[in-house]
């Protein structure tokens, strides 16, 4: 028997012994695991098996071209949709991106026109106008639902299921009309290839709708307000006022069927009111972060930017950067139950990214969100101190 054969024999015997040991120890390990699950990791008991938060890998954040170049990306996407060719790298210049915050509507119109297409800046647009325009519209939206400023540009195409959004270089996605309306300022840039004028179509549609509205309003009015009568005094005034309110309710139902999205009203309201409802989360401390880092039934969210997260984070923390849009976060956390306890932190006590992400999470319907009043820096410092002691 050669040395090589001896070595192979030894390895195979070791593997055999390991298999036998595993078979013998298997039931013991399984029993111990079940016992641990039943009494809890801390051994305090309770007999309740905690729901385990599914583990998921890092997302590719930032593909929505957040930052000052979002307008350039949106303009080039719209130009390409119109059948011409444009690439964002050809338009990265002060002429097109005048401020750190990004491009103005006029600068984006210049991008479109320099790429050979026609741009029309329109304001006070409705979703009805988007349907009428029949061209790609660069829409001015809020980057995240929790923000108050309209600081982002996307291309919005209305569809039967809602609105299709083309945001930077990421794949297009669909959102409900109400959700889109909740983030849209009503400013849009219509992009067409030739001398086609979407404004004429929009005004024609608006006029037809206005006539229909007046006819409908007059019908409601005669039915509710004028039909109610009493001889004199307060009852007459009271009844007529009630009639006016009833007529307006009926008209509102009809009008919102055209301009709103009544079937997804709750989602629209959640997105529209998010900046004012940013306190739906609780404030927590570093103890909450430590608890979330230790427990499998909680989700620990690092709200810092992706590059900071990659440099180092707390164990078990997943990254939901402050720049992520509401829809990106929704897709990323799809598998997580809405009642899962979530603890959000960012760099330090002076950082407010965690508050923004916390507000986004509550907008998405997560009911148990805690935002830590300190952050990664404080936690690292306390750990160093503990090691030093």
């Amino acid at each position: 028997m050669t040395g090589i054969d001896l070595k192979a024999n030894l390895i195979s015997r070791r593997a055999e012994r390991r298999t036998v040991a595993l078979v013998r120890l298997g039931p013991i390990i399984a029993t111990a695991f079940l016992f641990r699950a039943a009494v809890g990791a801390d051994g305090t008991g309770g007999g309740k098996i905690s729901p385990v938060v599914p583990q998921f890998g890092p997302a590719e954040w930032g593909a929505n071209a957040s930052g000052p170049l979002c307008g350039i990306y949106a303009a080039c996407t719209a130009v390409n949709m119109a059948g011409l060719e444009a690439h964002p790298r050809d338009f990265i210049a002060a002429k097109y991106v005048g401020q750190c915050a990004g491009s103005s509507p006029e600068e984006l119109a210049a991008v479109v026109e320099d790429a050979g297409a026609r741009a029309q800046i329109l304001s006070r647009l409705s979703v009805f106008d988007l349907h009428l325009a029949r061209c790609p519209v660069i829409a001015n939206v809020r980057m995240t639902a929790a923000r108050n400023r309209f600081d982002h540009w996307v291309v919005a195409i209305p569809s039967e299921a809602g609105v299709t959004i083309f945001d930077g270089i990421q794949n297009p996605y669909h959102i409900k009309t109400a959700e889109f309306l909740g983030t849209w300022s009503g400013i849009g840039i219509c992009v067409t290839r030739d001398q086609q004028n979407p404004l004429a179509t929009i005004w024609l549609g608006r006029s037809a709708l206005m006539l229909a509205g007046v006819a409908l309003g007059a019908t409601f009015f005669f039915f509710f307000a004028n039909g109610v009568s009493a001889r004199n005094g307060l009852p007459r005034l009271y009844k007529q006022s009630c009639g006016l309110c009833a007529a307006s309710v009926a008209l509102a139902v009809a009008g919102n069927a055209v301009f709103g999205d009544l079937s997804n009203h709750a989602k629209g309201v959640a997105v529209a009111t998010a900046p004012s409802q940013s306190r739906l989360y609780r404030e927590g401390t570093l103890d909450d972060v430590r608890k979330a880092a230790a427990g499998a039934d909680m989700l620990l969210v690092d709200a810092r930017r992706e590059q900071d997260y990659r440099l180092g984070t707390i164990s078990r923390a997943v990254n939901v950067p402050v720049t992520a849009s509401l829809w990106e976060i929704d897709r990323y956390l799809k598998a997580i139950g809405r009642d899962t306890p979530i603890v959000v932190f960012c760099q330090s006590a002076n950082c407010d990214y965690d508050e923004t992400v916390g507000a986004e999470l509550t907008t998405l319907g997560f009911t148990d969100v805690t935002v830590c009043n300190e952050g990664y820096a404080e936690l690292t410092k306390s750990q160093e101190l503990a090691r030093g002691l």
Binding site: G186, G213, N232, S248, P275
Partner: protein, 131 residues
């Protein structure tokens, strides 16, 4: 007539972008989200109906009465915002960004005064016609 034009202009603008109006109402931080949502979808149409009634001269007394209550409420909420030291968009005409200020409070106060005059005049003309 000025009251009718202001109500119609404001109503049509807000009706076209209902969730922007909901966003504006919520920014005043006076109502819960659900109430802001309902109010945002209904209030523009009340303004349109009032404008139609005043403009076309139908049930003017009731229309002016409701308009007085409406403008008084608008003025009161803006004064409440000023008292709390908040800096928010007025939202008076949809997407025209105008921060709530003493000047912006003057618009609903002026409209309320005009509506009171309209109400008095409508009541006087009704009494004359019934006499």
């Amino acid at each position: 007539m000025v009251v009718a034009v202001v109500l119609l202009f404001s109503g049509v603008i807000h009706a076209a972008q209902p969730y922007y109006f909901v966003h504006t109402i919520a920014s005043y931080r006076l109502l819960p989200p659900g109430a802001s949502g309902l109010l945002g979808l209904w209030l523009p149409y009340l303004q349109i109906v009032l404008a139609m009634c005043i403009g076309l001269g139908m049930v003017r007394e009731a229309a002016f009465g409701v308009a007085v209550v409406l403008f008084a409420t608008f003025a009161a909420v803006q004064i409440a915002v000023l008292a709390r030291g908040m800096e928010i968009d007025c939202g008076c005409f949809g997407f025209i960004v105008r921060v709530v200020s003493p000047a912006s409070v003057m618009l609903p106060i002026a409209m309320m005064s005009a509506s009171v005059l309209g109400l008095v005049e409508a009541r006087r003309s009704r009494r004359q016609s019934s006499a």
